[in-house]
């Protein structure tokens, strides 16, 4: 049975959701094992086992928290050389990309990125043209280094053996190259975008930041919906980067996606085309969003948004008062 490793990112000992997603996939492919590093890595071992890790390699050296990329890449290089798994999975997160890229060059191995599925250790699916085409790739090197787009598949708990193997790789000072000096977390307002059942999203077609703000009101009226944005809206400063849906943002797969003033550039569609139901409002009859919308409204996004808010308020008198 192939041995499939997952490099688990965590924040203060809490694994990132992507670690659970990757473990869910890893145990479908073979024996799932995880690697987690950093001062609070030991706290992550239990949760990782609950998502199927049979073995968790834990290095609690704080060097990984302070120094980006190189130390973790070197530790993985040593562990991979010793334990020879068939594949190692990363999420396409900034730190994981830094680590995976360096690891590949240190080992002289190729890698595949932006995977949306893995059918077997050497068979990886990516997409093209905003997700409208599946591209199936074969990867010949072992371990296969695969970077997976977050939220490409669900995370399902299933207990693994959870054997914890403490490791302490001695790292030369020469790997302390890039130092973290400050962090600022400004998460998107409201519930987590990636896991939301309902997403209300806006594009430039809303016309202004003030109009975009109306989406938060709609989200509240729909009961804990998350607010999403296109790249153009984030670049214009109407919404924080954490709200960006698309190829370079978050992938969402809600039950309902409401798109206001979004034309449907492939960049954006790549991150939301797996929504169960898409409702789109746009003035341009040729907007590509209408090709994938279950209900398309040809009209002014701001006006429809305002009237929708009004109608929902009338249904729930008192909700949102004050």
């Amino acid at each position: 049975m192939p041995k499939v490793w997952v490099f688990a990112e965590h924040r203060r000992g809490r694994p990132d959701t992507t670690a659970f997603e990757l473990l869910t996939k890893a145990r479908q492919l073979g024996q799932a094992e995880a690697v987690v590093v950093g001062a609070r890595a030991p706290e992550a071992a239990g949760p990782l086992a609950r998502y199927g890790a049979d073995t968790v390699y834990v290095d609690d050296n704080p060097v990984y928290d302070e120094w980006v990329g190189d130390p973790a890449a070197e530790t993985l290089r040593r562990l991979l050389t010793e334990h020879r798994p068939d594949a190692i999975l990363f999420a396409t997160l900034p730190d994981s990309r830094e680590i995976a890229g360096r690891l590949a060059t240190r080992l002289g191995l190729t890698l595949i990125s932006n995977a949306v599925d893995i059918r077997s250790v050497g068979a990886v699916r990516t997409t093209m043209f905003g997700g409208s085409l599946y591209v199936d790739c074969r990867i010949d090197d072992r371990p296969a280094i695969i970077l997976v787009r977050p939220h490409s598949f669900p995370a399902e708990p299933a207990p693994g053996q959870g054997r914890v193997v403490p490791v302490r790789v001695e790292l030369p000072d020469g790997l302390r190259l890039v130092r973290r000096v400050e962090a600022c977390e400004n998460a998107a307002r409201g519930p987590d975008l990636a896991g939301a059942a309902v997403v209300v999203a806006g594009g430039r077609g809303l016309g202004s930041r003030e109009n975009f703000e109306l989406l938060y009101e709609l989200a509240a009226l729909l009961g804990n919906a998350a607010v999403g944005a296109t790249r153009a809206v984030v670049e214009a400063g109407w919404a924080p980067p954490a709200a960006q849906v698309g190829l370079t943002g978050t992938t969402v797969r809600p039950r309902v996606y409401l798109a206001f003033g979004i034309s449907g550039a492939s960049q954006h569609v790549a991150g939301m085309r797996q929504s169960q139901t898409i409702i789109a409002v746009n003035t341009d009859p040729n907007a590509p969003i209408f090709k994938i919308a279950d209900l398309g409204i040809l009209g002014d996004a701001r006006k429809v948004l305002l009237r929708l808010i009004e109608a929902l308020r009338a249904r729930h008198p008192g909700r949102l008062e004050g």
């Binding site: 980006v68 990329g69 396409t92 900034p94 990309r97 830094e98 680590i99 995976a100 890229g101 590949a104 060059t105 191995l109 190729t110 890698l111 595949i112 990125s113 068979a123 093209m128 043209f129 409208s132 085409l133 599946y134 591209v135 199936d136 790739c137 074969r138 990867i139 010949d140 970077l147 890039v178 130092r179 973290r180 400050e182 962090a183 600022c184 977390e185 400004n186 059942a197 309902v198 729909l222 670049e235 954490a242 309902v256 085309r273 139901t277 409702i279 009859p285 209408f290 090709k291 919308a293 209900l295 398309g296 409204i297 040809l298 002014d300 006006k303 429809v304 009237r307 929708l308 109608a311």
Partner: protein, 254 residues
Amino acid sequence: MNIVVTAKYVPDPDLPGELDGFRLRREGVPGLLDPIDQCGVELAVQLKEALSGRVILVSMGPAVAEAALRLGLAMGADEAVLVTDPALTGFDALVTARVLARAIGRFPFDLVICGAQSSDGSTGTLGAMLAGLLDLPGIGPAKRVEVGGRLVRVRRQMAAGYEVAECSLPALVAVTSDINVPRFPSFKARVAARSKPLTRLTAADLGLGPDALRVRQAVVAITPAEERSPGEIVVDDGTAVARIIRLLEELGVI
């Protein structure tokens, strides 16, 4: 301050892409200097204007990529190298990084700038791989870059929020499109760019043999994703909101 910028010629990202077998068609379709690399060139030229030095563009691609490099030269770069070689067709991330690293290594540099993610569906790992091959500290994805003395300080775009990281030069930074708005070169600058040096190289010129260029992955199939059939399009005549509400009710959302 000598700066090398990687510059990719890409099919116009605003046009629907075309396939050429299992690959994206890159020749015979309108193309340009990847917008993210335009940001990279802009950053390099701004640093050169502040600190003096030279800006060199390094690219791998078809012969038509020269047009993209001429734009970068018009923006203020001093010199360009294009690695173009029929042996470099089915390249992957590692081979691409090897070629660019060799080309970059031909120049003395303080800083290498590349795009955090190219617009034609790349891996987003070029920066990390180049840093690994060139044995450099590397930081990305950068939405702000400051150089002070021999220190480079970068604001990294993280999944939630940002992080500031720093390292000493020589170094590599991978930039996002948030970093600046690239200049639009004047006609005069474009004319002047025509006489700036542009060197064409092959893989052999870089000392890369078949082993270094062997691609260890391949596309085996391309299939259409599950099609979403377009639903109903309704002109908003005042009843649109009622339609939305009815659908939300049917779906049990409200």
